[in-house]
């Protein structure tokens, strides 16, 4: 898709452009041939705007970011023109700068925030040193610079002195990310390039940072290029959006246009593939196929193999930029009719009229498969016996949760990291022994007879409770072939099968989940599979031994956006086949909603080891009673541009220290509606179910007559620096 200087670009006034890329490519020489990871893109960034660049993994978005600073890692080569236009100076060709000029250009004019905030700091230096050495490397006044740093940190709701005196490992992920933003702004650059700056963070933290970015951009007259795989995240932050596909731009235009009137079929498919809270489930469908390999980009339009409306023209001719409105360029031959046709084309490609039960249909007297009763799990620095003088700090990860999971049931637990959802999940499937409380499988206590051992005594229960992990990379042993990985559970639990039977069964399963040809895949090692394939193999491994309950621990969050819906659909389909229940864990309310609503399950919201609200997805999403659920709801990005994201419904951004839990209602330190009574009294789960669905809420506000309503509100204050920090 090499774009000529099209009419659309020529008429754009050049006066307010800050950065221009012209036919810019990035290439890597690989043993299998040259790999173009950015393919002749033209792009302009206007002064003081926020551009959102959206691309899936392997779309070239990180290379795009690096190219703007001429910082492509070795041995990559950048070609083409990258021009920077200072406000009142001559244009600068970034690729032609000398080493010293480039050193000054970076960070002083254009700076960058990387994906890996966790690893962006030198672990042996204090945060202060990072700031000081940056200031002195650029001959800035350190004293005045540090004043600016303090101000920046305060704007980011951090305690400046505490941050500066800390080592990187003493800060939580969200803190590090915000400190990194401050570090990138320390020299007052004109432009900030952010490459997936929030990918590793919780939704609440992501959302908080996004809303802080708004303020910072205003205050410092910044131009921001925000690169992400997550379209909704930037939907109402960005002024313009650009969609990258296969190392080229598919569509560039004003955010409103792109979201309401997407012209490129890929953009449209991406919008549909992204789980969100408001769109009807039937509109969400996966994108078929996978992104192309950089060495082997399809002829013609690179999207044609996956495009439902592709024709001969698309297969042979690479589309140039078509003008689809003011400032709106699209690289599609059929952009004019695509909007109407895509829906029809997509709608016909897969019909999903599944009738599901709802939570309400589940008879109350049905015996639960797994029943948790008042579960408590504590972690502490364990006593090492001999010569241990350490005072053990106890963290209560799960505090008194009861939950019943029925046959064919789905419960999705959501919450911030550290809220205990994974611990609760592992406890439910017998991989973590509770400190207190009982877990029953069909009426039998699963830990009975296990003594101090960490494994379940009853092998049948052990088989019935399985797990699928978050990280497909680590859930399969990299030293075993797919064959061995899948044979192992069969050998253990179906000892009657001989080698040939096992092979046939594995082949059948692989084919069923869409890994084909299975004969080819069965001898592969995990690193030869894509992320989605690995996750499907992990899913089969659990399914092969017919479990009754599978803990799906963030099973889709490590996958590409376009694969999430299809993986969840596969899990739902396998549930039908195997009669399995799922206890799913997600930090993402929209994934949770998709999974729970499609299966008629429930969503449980956890906060600091407690279940604060549980109910049908309709109730949780559309009528959350608990203020924390409302905060999560706020944090879940929507494609709706009108939503106001500045209105953070929490009083503090950071989670309280877990070794020193707040008294009363644990949320009172962050709750905007907290009153004095919340400091001292702890609310129990209150049944608020009605004909619309099941809902239990642990908040006094769910009761009409409670002393809460007469209590004094805890002073309403704007979001302030965290009182107690949680370090990881």
């Amino acid at each position: 898709m090499t774009i000529s200087q099209s009419a659309a670009q020529a008429d754009r006034p050049n006066g307010d452009v800050i950065m221009e890329l012209d036919d810019t490519s990035v290439e890597f020489g690989m043993s299998r041939g040259r790999s173009r990871v950015l393919n002749g893109v033209d792009f302009e960034v206007s002064r003081d705007e926020i551009v959102g660049v959206i691309g899936e993994s392997g779309s070239g978005k990180s290379m795009f970011a690096s190219a703007m600073l001429d910082a492509v890692p070795e041995p990559g080569v950048t070609t083409g023109d990258v021009t920077y236009y200072p406000e009142d100076d001559d244009p600068v060709s970034v690729t032609d700068l000398s080493k010293e000029e480039l050193r000054r250009f970076r960070w002083e004019e254009v700076s960058m925030v990387f994906q890996g905030a966790m690893s962006s700091f030198n672990p042996v230096l204090k945060i202060r040193t990072h700031f000081v050495e940056t200031l002195s490397a650029h001959d800035y006044n350190v004293e005045r610079g540090l004043e600016r740093v303090r101000e920046l940190l305060e704007d980011l709701y951090l305690e400046p002195e505490r941050m500066l005196e800390s080592y990187p490992h003493e800060l939580s992920g969200g803190m590090k990310q915000r400190v990194l933003i401050a570090l990138s702004l320390v020299l007052d650059p004109e432009m900030l390039v952010m490459d997936e700056p929030t990918a590793a963070l919780d939704l609440l933290m992501q959302r908080s940072i996004i809303s802080l970015l708004h303020d910072i951009q205003d205050k410092h007259d910044l131009t921001i290029v925000f690169i992400t795989h997550d379209l909704p995240l930037v939907a109402n932050l960005a002024d313009r959006l650009a969609v990258l596909y296969a190392f080229e731009f598919a569509e560039v235009g004003p955010a409103d246009d792109i979201l309401e009137d997407p012209a490129h079929p890929y953009t449209r498919a991406l919008l549909n593939a992204t789980p969100n809270l408001s769109a009807p489930l039937e509109e969400m469908r996966p994108i078929e196929g996978e992104s192309p390999d950089p060495v082997n980009i399809p002829e013609g339009c690179s999207y044609h193999p996956r495009c439902p409306i592709a024709d001969e023209m698309c297969r042979s001719h690479d589309p140039d930029a078509y003008d689809a409105g003011a400032d709106h360029d699209v690289h599609c031959h059929h952009w004019e009719d695509s909007i109407e046709n895509i829906d029809n084309a997509l709608a016909s490609s897969g019909s999903m009229d599944r009738s599901r039960r709802t939570a309400a249909d589940r008879s109350a007297d049905e015996e639960p498969v797994v029943s948790l009763d008042d579960i408590e799990v504590e972690f502490g620095s364990e006593n090492d016996g001999l010569l241990d003088f350490g005072d053990s700090e106890i963290v209560t990860a799960v505090d008194g949760i009861s939950l019943d999971i029925y046959q064919n049931d789905v419960v999705v637990l959501v919450g911030e990291s550290g809220c205990g959802k994974t611990t609760l999940g592992k406890t439910a499937v017998g991989l973590q022994q509770p400190t207190d409380g009982t877990i029953e499988y069909k009426g039998r206590d699963i830990w009975e007879g296990s003594g101090n051992s960490s494994t379940l005594a009853d092998k049948e229960i052990r088989r019935a409770l399985q797990i699928v992990h978050q990280d497909p990379g680590s859930s399969l042993n990299s030293h075993h072939r797919v064959r061995t990985i899948l044979e192992t559970p069969l050998k253990r639990w179906h000892s009657d099968l001989d080698g040939n039977d096992r092979r046939e069964r594995i082949l059948g399963m692989l084919e069923y989940v869409g890994i084909s040809p299975p004969e080819d895949y069965i001898d592969r090692y995990p690193h030869q599979l894509s992320g989605g394939e690995k996750q499907r193999v992990a899913l089969i491994r659990a399914m092969l031994i017919n479990p009754d309950l599978i803990l799906a621990d963030e099973a889709v969050s490590a996958l590409d956006v376009s694969l999430r819906v299809s993986t969840m659909d596969l899990m739902i389909e396998l549930q039908d086949v195997f009669n399995t229940s799922y206890l799913a864990i997600s930090h993402d309310l929209s994934n949770a909603r998709y999974f729970a609503e499609k299966t008629g399950g429930r969503i449980g919201v956890m906060y600091l080891g407690e279940l604060v609200e549980i109910g049908s997805p309709e109730q949780i999403i559309h009528d959350p009673k608990h203020p924390y659920t409302q905060a999560l709801r706020w944090a879940t990005p929507e494609l709706d541009r009108d939503e106001d994201i500045d209105d953070n419904p929490m009083r503090t951004i950071d989670v309280p220290d877990q070794t020193n839990m707040p008294s009363g209602c644990r949320y009172h330190t962050r709750c905007p509606k907290a009153r004095e009574v919340c400091r001292t009294q702890k609310p129990e789960l209150i049944d608020r179910s009605d004909e619309d669905g099941v809902q239990h809420t642990a908040c006094f506000r769910a009761l009409e007559d409670h002393e809460y309503w007469d209590s004094e509100p805890i002073a309403e204050e704007p979001p302030a620096a965290e009182e107690t920090g949680s370090a990881d």
Binding site: L69, S120, G390
Partner: protein, 331 residues
């Protein structure tokens, strides 16, 4: 704070374990020194009973006492710093050791320091010019040097520089005819005598350089290095504060194991150079079947290593902010 106390306790525990081990070896093993001693000198004495008393004098163990009493007495004398009496040297073991320990420490601390400095520098340069001729050459050097036992190098150095060229003394630990003390000729003579033993230990630099190279190459790929470059830090700052510091930290464990190995090596090295340190006395004791001296030297060498490791461990916390306890959750 508390892990330091714990680490100190662990050191004490090790010393206790080793001292108990020596008691066990001396008293209880078949063919143990005490029985051998009594069997050896008993018949020569008019009153065989005296053999037992002599055993107590020399080894702090009365073979006639019940085991727990003997153990208690043995531990008490150990705590009092009484390591028994050497038969061959006819002196208190503790005195002999007190005189020998500084010399061994002197040679070994220099040996460890020099070989690590050389190894780390070579490794850092190799990583900087990764893939260059220098890199290949030093990799070859490191592989070869690691294949040479230190005592082979010691013999070669002694042969060439001691006997053939006569540049260095072939034995002893201090110049003769010079008054011992803080005067220049004596100090120079000391260094002169220690030079060959110290350089013999340079074989350890080979492995250290390869480790340093591997660590540095890995650090060069870290995110924080990329960020540091983009932030425009000077190359020197990056090399020293970012690469070197983070690459050296994980080598601390290697250093600690090297301390043990090198102090153990002192036994051979001091014998070759007839350098009268702890190891020299130990080998003499073995030759003379002087059990009290042998066990005493063994105990003292072990305590020296325990203390060296303790210092290394405790100072590690000063240079790596992440140091501290570790996770020992059970399942």
């Amino acid at each position: 704070m508390d892990w330091k106390i714990r680490r100190f306790g662990q050191g004490l525990f090790t010393v206790w374990a080793v001292v108990s081990l020596t008691f066990f070896i001396t008293r209880m093993m078949p063919g143990n020194p005490v029985d051998a001693f009594v069997a050896q000198i008993g018949p020569e004495l008019e009153n065989p009973q005296e053999a037992y008393e002599l055993a107590e004098t020399y080894m702090n163990i009365n073979p006639e006492a019940p085991l727990h009493v003997a153990y208690r007495d043995y531990m008490i004398s150990m705590v009092q710093g009484d390591l028994g009496r050497s038969m061959s040297q006819n002196a208190e073991v503790t005195e002999l050791m007190a005189e020998a320990v500084p010399w061994t420490l002197f040679v070994m601390s220099w040996a460890i320091a020099i070989s690590f400095v050389v190894g780390i520098s070579l490794g850092a340069i190799m990583a900087y010019w990764e893939g260059s001729t220098f890199d290949t050459a030093v990799t070859g050097y490191a592989t070869t040097v690691t294949s040479i036992p230190f005592y082979v190098l010691a013999l070669l150095l002694l042969m060439v520089f001691g006997y053939q060229l006569g540049w260095f003394p072939t034995g002893g630990r201090q110049p003769s005819g010079v008054e011992a003390g803080f005067n220049l000729p004596f100090m120079l003579g000391m260094i002169h005598h220690a030079a060959l033993p110290v350089f013999s230990m340079l074989v350890a630099s080979g492995a250290a350089s390869l480790t340093m190279r591997g660590n540095s190459v890995r650090i060069l790929g870290e995110d924080y290095l990329r960020v540091a470059r983009l932030r425009g830090l000077a190359d020197r700052t990056i090399a020293v504060r970012y690469v070197a510091r983070n690459a050296i930290l994980p080598m601390y464990t290697g250093l600690m194991i090297a301390i043990g190995t090198m102090f153990g090596g002192a036994v051979v090295l001091e014998e070759i150079y007839t350098y009268r340190g702890m190891g020299y006395y130990m080998i003499q004791a073995v030759r003379m079947r002087d059990y009290p001296l042998m066990m005493g030297a063994f105990t003292v060498i072990t305590i020296a290593v325990v203390i060296a490791l303790l210092i290394a461990d405790l100072t590690y916390g000063k240079i790596d902010p992440r140091a501290g306890g570790e996770n020992r959750e059970a399942f």
